[in-house]
Subunit: 192 residues, 2 copies
DNA sequence: CCCATGTGAGACATCAATGTCTCACTCTGG
DNA sequence: CCAGAGTGAGACATTGATGTCTCACATGGG
C-alpha cells in the first residue's frame, strides 16, 4: 500500500517537468504535448499521467508562475527602504521567472471571459502597493497610476525576456535595462 | 472581361475585412476563421476566397500593421525637433494601431525560425534611429541601448493596449501613459 | 527471486479547425 | 428581361492535436 508518502519510485520529478515545459513554452507557446514531453525527457503517456491535459498543464504552470512571483515579492521585501530600491530588488528577484511570466502574460490575454486565477490579483495588489507607497513618499510621480506602472512592469519584463531570447540583448543587462527604464525613463537626468 | 480594374462589383471591401479581423484577433488571438468571418459579417466561404487561408490572413494583417507603422512614422516626422517631441508624435500617431501591433508582436514570437517580414527591420531601424539621435544630442541617456528602447516601446504599446482592452485604463490616457513612462520613468523630477 | 509499480511505445478513436467543393440565391449591368 | 459575377449556406474530406487504452519492459522492494 505504501501509505508512507507518494513517491515510492521515481515519480518522474513533477517539478522538472514543469520547468522544462515552462522553458519550452516560453520559446514556442504553441508547442505540442508531444514536444513538451520530449523536452522533459519523458513520454507523452507519462506526461498525461501527471497532467490530465494541456489545460491542466497550463494551470500548473500558472500556479508555478504565481508561486515564483510571490517568492520574489517576499524576497524583495517591498516595504523596506525606498520604493525605488524595493522595485530594484523586485526586478532582480523576478528576473529568473521572466520567461515564464511572459508566456503566462500573453496566455492570459485569451482567457478574457473565464475567471482567471485569483493569485494574480494579489500579486497585482502587492506590486501596485509599492508604486503607491513611492507616490505617497513623494518619490514617484503621481500622474502615472500604480495600475499602469504595474502593467508596464509586466510588459517590460516580457519585452526584456524576448529581447534576450532573440539574442538581441545580454541576459546580464536584463535587470538594469528594465529597472532603469521603468524608474528613470529614457531622458537624461541633470541631477544625480 | 472587365479589364478596367478589378472591383466590378462589391469585392466585399477587403480592407473592412482586415480591420474586423484585426479588432477580433487583438482580443482573441486564437479566433477561428469562422469567427473572423462572422466578425466581418461575411461567410467563411467568402473569407476564404479573399485570403487563401489563415496564414494568408495573418500575413495580410502583418502587411497592414507594417503599413500603418510606416504611415505613423512618416506622420511623426521623427527627424524634426527634439527627439522627445518626435517620440511623443510617434506614440500619438501609432496609438490607433496599438491593438494590431500587440497581436502581431506576440504572434511573431512563435515565428522564431521562419524568416519574418523584412518590413519590421526597417521600422525597427527608423525607431532606433530617433533614440540614437536623442542620445547623440545629449537628450537621452546612453546606458539604455536604442534596440532596448525600441523593444520597450513595443512592449509598452502592447501593455497599454491590453490595459485599455481590459477596461483598467482609459483610452484617452493611452499616449500620455506610454510616452511619460518611456521618456521620464516613474521617478519624480526635481527639475522641470 | 518474484511481484508490483511506473514507464515507454504505440495503436486507436475523437474532435476541432481547415480547406475544398457544390448549389441556390441575389444582385447589377447591359 | 437575362446573363454573369459574387455571395451564403452547407456538405465533405483532411489534417493535426488530443485523450484513452493496451502491452511489454525495467526497476526496486519484500
Amino acid at each position: 500500500m505504501s501509505h508512507m508518502g507518494y513517491r515510492c519510485l521515481m515519480a518522474v520529478d513533477r517539478d522538472h517537468v514543469l520547468r522544462s515545459a515552462a522553458a519550452l513554452l516560453t520559446r514556442k507557446s504553441t508547442a505540442t504535448m508531444d514536444e513538451v514531453a520530449k523536452a522533459a525527457g519523458i513520454s507523452r503517456a507519462t506526461l498525461h499521467r501527471q497532467f490530465a491535459g494541456r489545460d491542466a498543464l497550463v494551470r500548473a504552470l500558472e500556479s508555478l508562475g504565481i508561486a515564483e512571483c510571490e517568492a520574489a515579492l517576499d524576497a524583495a521585501r517591498l516595504d523596506e527602504g525606498t520604493a525605488s530600491d524595493a522595485v530594484r530588488r523586485l526586478v532582480g528577484a523576478i528576473e529568473p521567472a521572466a520567461g515564464l511570466l511572459a508566456f503566462l502574460y500573453t496566455e492570459n490575454q485569451l482567457f478574457e471571459g473565464e475567471e482567471q486565477n485569483a493569485g494574480w490579483a494579489l500579486i497585482d495588489e502587492r506590486i501596485s502597493a509599492v508604486f503607491r507607497r513611492g507616490q505617497l513618499d513623494g518619490e514617484f510621480r503621481i500622474d502615472l497610476t500604480p495600475a499602469w506602472l504595474t502593467e508596464a512592469l509586466y510588459g517590460l519584463l516580457a519585452s526584456g525576456a524576448w529581447l534576450v531570447q532573440s539574442g538581441k540583448g545580454a541576459p546580464k543587462d536584463f535587470p538594469h535595462m528594465i529597472v532603469e527604464l521603468l524608474l528613470g525613463g529614457a531622458l537624461r537626468r541633470e541631477e544625480t
